[in-house]
């Protein structure tokens, strides 16, 4: 009897298209691209701010144009998706026990969303003042 195991090679780049759960995973990963670009734009904006009012006004004019607006919407959607997926996995990575009993994951997730509201409100008050 001869053994001749057969090896099936997975499709290198397109495997994630084959199942909804993998597509959701890839969307979560791609969120980092938009988050990264947004932060880079912020940094450039800060740099232009440091160069004086004229440079900063020019920066504002650039990012407020149509491509900037489209990107802002995408960045917001992906940022929220990042937040949503990040909060979802937090109870798994850091399970809590209180008085010997495990704290339900949904409670931890809800606390995080509440935290998001608090942080956003604090930002709003700080910047909007």
């Amino acid at each position: 009897m001869s053994r001749r195991p057969y090896i099936r090679e997975p499709s290198k780049g397109g495997w994630w298209l084959e199942q909804p759960r993998y597509i959701r995973y890839m969307m979560r990963e791609i969120s980092a691209l938009f988050i990264g670009i947004y932060v880079l734009v912020l940094i450039v904006g800060l740099f232009q701010l440091s160069r004086g009012e004229a440079a900063y006004e020019e920066f504002l004019a650039t990012v407020e144009g149509p491509p900037g607006r489209v990107f802002a919407v995408l960045a917001m959607l992906f940022a929220i998706y990042h937040t949503y997926t990040w909060f979802q996995v937090t109870p798994k990575a850091m399970p809590l026990t209180l008085g010997g009993k495990p704290v339900p994951g949904s409670f931890i997730v809800a606390a995080h969303w509440f935290g998001l509201v608090l942080v956003s409100a604090a930002l709003w008050l700080l910047v909007g003042s």
């Binding site: 980092a32 440091s50 917001m76 937040t83 909060f87």
Partner: protein, 115 residues
């Protein structure tokens, strides 16, 4: 092999991801939508107002902290994604992703020290 070989990289990734999760939705709302939608005055993002905000002793430190952690989070995740999408040369990916993050970090430092 695309795994980070140091807990440092993952630690930065986790910290940056947490900051991004809590801070970004509000930040994007304020910087991109609040003024056009009339929720905040046009003065909010003006040159004068931002310079004023930066005068606070802690503001530059906090801003740098947020930018630094989030950009490294994004860079690391992009490195992993490149591997997921079939890019085999991890060394090259690493240099590009972390290189951009490093450049952004330096630019942020330059910007904040100049304000």
């Amino acid at each position: 092999m695309s795994g980070s070989n140091k807990p440092i990289i993952w630690g930065l990734f986790a910290a940056g991801g947490t900051i991004a999760a809590f801070v970004l939705p509000g930040l994007i709302l304020i910087t991109c939508f609040a003024v056009p939608l009339g929720l905040l005055s046009t003065e909010t993002l003006s040159y004068a107002h931002l310079i004023e905000l930066m005068q606070h002793p802690l503001s530059k430190l906090v801003i740098f902290g947020v930018l630094f952690l989030v950009i490294w989070h994004a860079a690391h995740r992009m490195r992993i994604t490149a591997h997921d999408l079939g890019v085999r040369n991890d060394t090259l990916t690493m240099m590009i992703c972390y290189g951009i993050a490093a450049a952004g970090t330096l630019l942020a430092l330059a910007a904040l020290s100049g304000i």
